[in-house]
């Protein structure tokens, strides 16, 4: 594979976001439409940093009620018990199925937190015009996009527990108020990962190297 000098944008070319065709728009101000598939072209995703920050902050705020409020409420003849995501993990662990507890812990706690931290780190480094670790930061954004969907696990678990355990008055399970917030966190972080344009990492790195006068 032979690399040509610089990015497509530096050569006045733009790749279609849908069909990937590289074309030369008539004007640099408005990129127009892809001649092959007709999609609107853009040099970079419009307002990528603002959108990603907005979705990320919203997700971080909703993460609090998602973890404080119960996701499942179990009613039996004699008692009623509320479980948050964390107490659900502890319950799984104490009842002997530690592999499942680990799966739920990774999917419901570590992946959402990791996504929030990773996206914030990438956004801050792009805004500071960092040139270091561009390849690693690009891989990080790809990983966040790839694993983000697994956080939906707990929502599916809760759904099927609620659907199946309906033996009232013996025992019935209802969804708690936390589950809708948790679902919103997963959806918002997925949207945040998709609205971030990783090409901005390389634009910032190139601008820094131009300014510092180092060879590209």
């Amino acid at each position: 594979m032979t690399a040509q000098a610089g990015s497509a944008a530096a050569c006045g070319l733009v790749a279609c976001g849908d069909c990937a065709l590289v074309s030369r728009p008539a004007s640099a101000a408005a990129a127009g439409h892809c001649p092959r598939c007709g999609a609107a072209l853009a040099w970079r995703q419009p307002r990528s940093l603002q959108r990603t920050w907005a979705l990320l902050v919203a997700a971080a705020v909703l993460y609090v009620p998602a973890n404080v409020l119960p996701v499942l409420v179990t009613d039996t003849l004699v008692s009623s018990q509320s479980d948050t995501i964390m107490s659900g993990v502890v319950l799984l662990y104490t009842t002997g199925s530690w592999p499942l507890a680990l799966i739920v812990l990774v999917a419901s706690v570590m992946i959402p937190l990791g996504k929030l931290a990773a996206l914030a780190y990438v956004l801050v480094t792009v805004q500071r015009g960092s040139a270091a670790n561009a390849r690693e930061r690009t891989r990080l954004t790809r990983t966040v996009e790839f694993i983000g969907r697994w956080s939906m696990l707990d929502v599916f678990v809760d759904t099927f527990v609620v659907a199946l355990v309906q033996l009232s008055p013996l025992m019935s399970v209802a969804p708690g108020p936390g589950v809708v917030w948790f679902m919103a966190v997963v959806v918002l972080t997925m949207l945040a990962a998709r609205s971030f344009d990783p090409r901005l990492i390389w634009d910032a790195a190139a601008a820094r190297e131009d300014r510092d006068g180092r060879p590209r």
């Binding site: 497509a8 990937a20 007709g38 199946l164 809708v180 634009d203």
Partner: protein, 206 residues
């Protein structure tokens, strides 16, 4: 030799002709640029038809069965979302219905339409619209997450009552195994090359 711009770092580069089963990655950031599956039209079509049948079975037959103290209950995939709605968590029910039923169904239906339409090039421009929506629904089609979720739910309930997997669970397992097989045999670039251009004059120039 086609010029491509990496979608992750915008580096302009040429992809050499690939051998069958070959892959090309971006020299700068490592993003996958192009693949050349051995059988990019028939293999994904066959796998998609199989996945569509399995997905229909997964939706129509019980996923889990429960029995406790002489009482029995069972649930299907759409039944799970419905139960969440009836239990008062409507938004969650909608998200589950979308990610577990609607998005995977749209994904398979669009794939089927695209793969059938591009068999005789040039395919009409609506196939391009279908390709665009295919990419949009794909991240929301969460069959593999759903399967793990059902299995965790099964184990959780097993501590309270006796539960058994239904035929729907095995059909879902088949879907989960087939979807990545479709992805590796599908060549989006080849499909796009077989679709008539929106701007016919530009196609003549290109």
């Amino acid at each position: 030799m086609d010029s491509v711009a990496c979608r992750c770092c915008d580096l302009l580069q040429r992809v050499p002709p690939l051998p069958r089963g070959g892959k090309a990655r971006c020299v700068r950031c490592g993003q996958l640029l192009a693949t050349r599956p051995a059988d990019p039209l028939d293999a994904p079509l066959a796998l998609t038809i199989a996945a569509a049948i399995a997905f229909a079975v997964a939706n129509a037959t019980p996923m889990l069965r429960l029995s406790a103290e002489g009482r029995e209950a069972q649930t299907t995939l759409p039944g799970g979302a419905l139960a969440m709605w009836q239990a008062g968590s409507e938004l969650t029910a909608l998200a589950v219905a979308f990610c577990a039923v609607v998005a995977p169904a749209c994904h398979l239906a669009l794939l089927l339409a695209v793969l059938l339409a591009v068999r005789r090039p040039p395919a009409p421009p609506w196939v391009g619209v279908a390709m665009r929506w295919l990419e949009r629904v794909r991240p929301w089609a969460m069959t593999e997450v759903l399967l793990l979720g059902v299995l965790v739910a099964l184990t959780k309930i097993a501590q309270l009552a006796s539960v058994a997997p239904g035929p729907g669970l095995f059909a879902l397992l088949a879907v989960v195994l087939l979807v990545p097989a479709i992805a590796t045999t599908f060549d989006a670039d080849l499909v796009w090359r077989r679709i008539a251009w929106a701007d016919a004059r530009a196609q003549v120039r290109a």
